[in-house]
């Protein structure tokens, strides 16, 4: 019996290590490549570790284009999207979770349908509309279409529904208006869900490549992802070490944010019953 357990424990551990490696290997490869010389990146068989870490690769990457502008654009777009989304999602989710009103189910179904439509279907009309409004030279085409987040509304609604009705009624008896109930009661009680939604939003907009590629036509409004992709071709050869250095720069903020949010996120999934 004991032996049997040991075997399973070993299998379990081995599987975990394999999965871990599968996830972490590309990541380590990226970091390693970002520190190699051009010759090293093209050697066969490939070298795992750089002989001498080439820290200057980062400087090269960041000086080969207007990276300060790219970074600024990425930050402005991502942060505005998150803030606007929270402002839209919280009241929407509160209404869907705690109010009875005419057409509620139809409206919620619309939200879920919106959740399932990929951006690749809507980008042309949206681009034309933005161009029509003369906004292509601004960051707005990267922000306005994402003011609402159907997945976020769905997740927050699930979370709000679990908050007992009596707490809201107690607040009404305490003479709190609906606005206060939302911000002083619902929001503090839903921090894990809010952190999760905000993080998902952050990752998907910070990493977004397709949408800004379509919606921008000048470096003034391009985000980091596009800037880094433009590192790819210089003088006819792929500068993999420089590209990877750019990618490391792109990924670091996500790691930092994730470290801050991970605990809250796990809690959100446990609570909302998705996990």
């Amino acid at each position: 019996m004991k032996k049997h357990n040991n075997i399973w424990l070993t299998v379990d551990t081995v599987l975990k290590v394999v999965i871990l490696l599968a996830f972490i290997f590309p990541f380590l490869w990226m970091i390693s490549t970002s520190l190699q010389t051009l010759e090293e990146t093209m050697k066969f068989p490939p070298t795992i570790l750089p002989e001498v870490p080439q820290w200057l690769n980062f400087v090269d990457a960041m000086t080969s284009g207007p990276f300060a502008t790219y970074a600024r654009n990425s930050l402005i777009v991502t942060i505005s999207v998150i803030i606007i989304q929270l402002l839209v999602m919280i009241p929407a989710a509160y209404a869907f979770a705690k109010y009875e009103f005419f057409g509620k189910n139809v409206l919620f179904a619309l939200v879920l349908i919106a959740f399932m439509i990929p951006g690749q279907l809507t980008f042309i009309p949206i681009y034309l509309m933005m161009a029509d409004w003369g906004l292509i030279k601004t960051l707005l085409p990267q922000i306005l279409p994402f003011m609402s987040n159907a997945f976020g509304i769905f997740l927050l609604r699930q979370y709000f529904m679990q908050i007992p009705e009596e707490i809201i009624e107690a607040a009404r008896l305490d003479n709190a208006n609906e606005f206060k109930i939302m911000w002083k009661i619902m929001v503090p009680m839903s921090k894990p869900a809010l952190a999760t939604v905000a993080l998902f939003s952050f990752v998907s907009h910070w990493n977004d490549y397709f949408w800004p590629l379509v919606m921008t036509d000048s470096n003034e409004v391009r985000p980091l992802t596009l800037g880094i992709s433009m590192l790819r071709e210089t003088e006819g050869i792929s500068n993999w070490h420089i590209i990877m250095a750019g990618n490391v720069v792109l990924v670091v903020p996500i790691l930092i944010v994730y470290l801050f949010c991970s605990k809250q996120i796990v809690r959100a999934f446990v609570y909302s019953g998705i996990k």
Partner: protein, 347 residues
């Protein structure tokens, strides 16, 4: 301070009538206890007074004014919920303060109120703790303090003691009676525990299936129940009831009114039966007595009988109750009353 009045109130949930044409007046400053079995509509009534579950038709008046269009927070009503409904992300202080802040009470006054109320309920040491770190009894006191601090003119309490252990519950019962004396405001208290109802109420409103069965002081409810339901709801164990055998009339007597003896009694109701169970409860003993094809509970201060023993049970005439076919109690002034008494002899 305020009186509360229900005028022809009905309440439906999903087209099902839960409260049927209810009329009730709760006098200013009284301690009124709503009591009844689970699901009879007690919470529903409280929620109508508070304005968080409005009536389907009819009117609720507070101090003679129809409050249908007045928001819950503006009715001068505070409520202690069945599950407390404490704000979990706020500290104890913030919980108590929340209503005051919303009512735009100045900071200095707020602090003073919170301190004095929390001292009164014994929460001073916990003001900066989160509710999740406190015990059930302490949370219950947060809920009380949160209601008290607003100085409401009506205090609604929905089974506030149901989650406490027996000892703490007994203590809180006394505290609440004292609180009512001190504040002198109108208390409406919901429970399905008849001991709580009997011990705290000025007036008991006994409900069943959305209908008021009787509205009277505890003594009256106990001594003059208006029907079989009331007679059997109040009292532990419930009143013994059986067919008299005359025109569908039933008779009843309380276990504590019966006298057990080894000698035959002289009252009209006197039977000889066999003890089938004996429960020694400390100060008193309960016996279940089999008689013919039925059985009666009797309660005795002395522990005199053993199981299988043959005993006589008699009940003084003035402690006998009679109920008509409709379940309502037949008053002693009823013309046939004495004939019912006589009928007991041939039971």
């Amino acid at each position: 301070m305020a009186s509360i009045e229900f005028v022809n109130v009905t309440k439906e949930f999903d087209k099902k009538e839960i409260i049927k044409d209810l009329n009730l007046k709760i006098e200013d400053g009284t301690f009124t206890v709503l009591v009844g079995p689970s699901g009879c509509g007690k919470t529903t009534l409280l929620r109508m007074i508070a304005g968080i579950g409005p009536q389907t038709s009819g009117a609720v008046l507070i101090d003679g004014k129809d409050v249908t269009d007045i928001a819950p927070g503006k009715r001068g009503v505070a409520m202690v919920f069945q599950n407390y409904a404490i704000y979990p992300t706020m500290s104890v202080r913030e919980n108590i303060e929340f209503g005051l802040k919303n009512n735009k009470v100045k900071k200095a006054e707020r602090t003073e109120l919170v301190e004095s109320i929390s001292a009164a309920v014994g929460l001073t040491d916990f003001l900066d703790r989160k509710p999740s770190t406190l015990s059930g009894g302490q949370r219950q006191r947060i809920a009380l303090a949160r209601a008290m601090v607003k100085k409401p003119s009506v205090f609604l309490m929905d089974e506030p003691l149901s989650n406490l252990d027996a000892k703490l519950r007994a203590q809180m019962r006394i505290d609440l009676i004292e609180l009512h004396k001190k504040l002198g405001t109108t208390f409406v208290y919901v429970t399905h525990d008849q001991v709580e109802a009997m011990s705290m109420a000025d007036t008991i409103v006994l409900m069943n299936q959305g209908l008021i069965q009787q509205e009277a002081p505890p003594e009256t409810i106990y001594h003059e129940p208006s029907n079989i339901f009331v007679a059997q709801f109040i009292g532990v164990p419930p009143m013994n009831i059986d067919e008299l055998g005359v025109g569908g009339v039933k008779f009843g007597f309380r276990p504590e009114s019966a006298i057990g003896s080894t000698e035959a009694g002289t009252t009209p109701f006197s039977i000889r039966g066999e003890v089938v169970t004996r429960e020694m409860l400390g100060s008193e003993t309960l016996y279940k007595i089999n008689y013919k094809d039925t059985s009666f509970m009797i309660k005795s201060l002395e522990d005199r009988f053993t199981v299988n023993q043959q005993v006589y049970v008699s009940v003084p005439t003035e402690k006998m109750y009679f109920f008509g076919e409709d379940g309502n109690r037949i008053p002693t002034s009823h013309p046939s009353y004495s004939s019912y008494i006589e009928a007991l002899r041939s039971y």
